[in-house]
């Protein structure tokens, strides 16, 4: 036994023989599917949102500091690059939010049948698009 991977893949049969558990086919031989794409997107949006917390913290700290530091954050958020960040953050948030609810439903034991998994996946895509558009419009109107 050399590493953790061995510890995870080596197992014992009921009659006591040591065997290496079969590995799933590698990711790269799979055709992309709605299930796998949405799954990795949950992780990517989780990472994007994590980066976005820097912006959240900056906004709060600046608001607690001074008018001029607040003006700096506001200025950044209204710049083209700032608005692009904001749009990416809003889209990531709504995707992660909707798909997160889907995850929680699975955790509660619902929605595992393949047709349901596909339907809930497309529902997440549609809801993300709608919520992102709505939020973006609200931001633009308030600017």
């Amino acid at each position: 036994m050399t590493d953790t991977r061995d510890a995870l893949t080596i197992a014992r049969t009921s009659d006591g023989r040591l065997v290496r558990r079969p590995l799933s086919p590698h990711l790269q031989v799979y055709r992309p599917q709605i299930t796998s794409i949405l799954s990795i997107m949950h992780r990517m949006t989780g990472i994007a949102l994590s980066a976005g917390t820097l912006l959240l913290a900056w906004w709060l700290v600046a608001a607690a500091t001074s008018d001029s530091s607040y003006a700096t954050v506001s200025g950044f958020m209204r710049s083209p690059i700032g608005l692009l960040f904001l749009l990416g953050w809003i889209a990531s948030l709504w995707y992660h939010f909707c798909n997160g609810i889907r995850h929680l439903a699975w955790d509660a034991g619902f929605g595992f049948e393949l047709p349901t998994v596909h339907a809930s996946g497309w529902a997440v895509v549609a809801a993300t698009a709608a919520l992102t558009a709505l939020t973006a419009i609200a931001v633009v109107m308030a600017l």
């Binding site: 080596i10 989780g46 990472i47 994590s50 913290a57 608001a63 607040y70 948030l93």
Partner: protein, 144 residues
Amino acid sequence: MSETAKTSTTKTGGKLHVGVMQSELGRARGLGSARSGTHHWWAERVTSMALVPLTIWFVIAALRLVGHTRGDVAHWAANPVNATLGAALVIVTFHHMQLGLQVVVEDYIHAESMRMPMILAIKGAAFLLGLASLVSILKLAFMG
């Protein structure tokens, strides 16, 4: 550990090496616990559930602050309901984030010498960033 654990051969001929002196407990160590092993997973779900209403509240609150001054933000935070929910959002979000990022690092960083430092760095950064956000909300709430 029984004799059969010493070595064994797969169908394809590859040798399976198992440390003779290593007990089953030794093999299992560091791979999670039978009792506390679900704690991380459960904490990620609890924070997710809390984030559903908090996120909706936050997006609406933030939208109403777009285009306003620092003074307006302070005025908003002076309302105890906003300060409480804002503090809750910050605490839960940063906790949820560091739990999630830990799993991402564990999945992709295999070198032991890299993994632990990265996880500790993420936890430290999340803690400080979260604390800075929390202190800021409280400062706005109490001192404007």
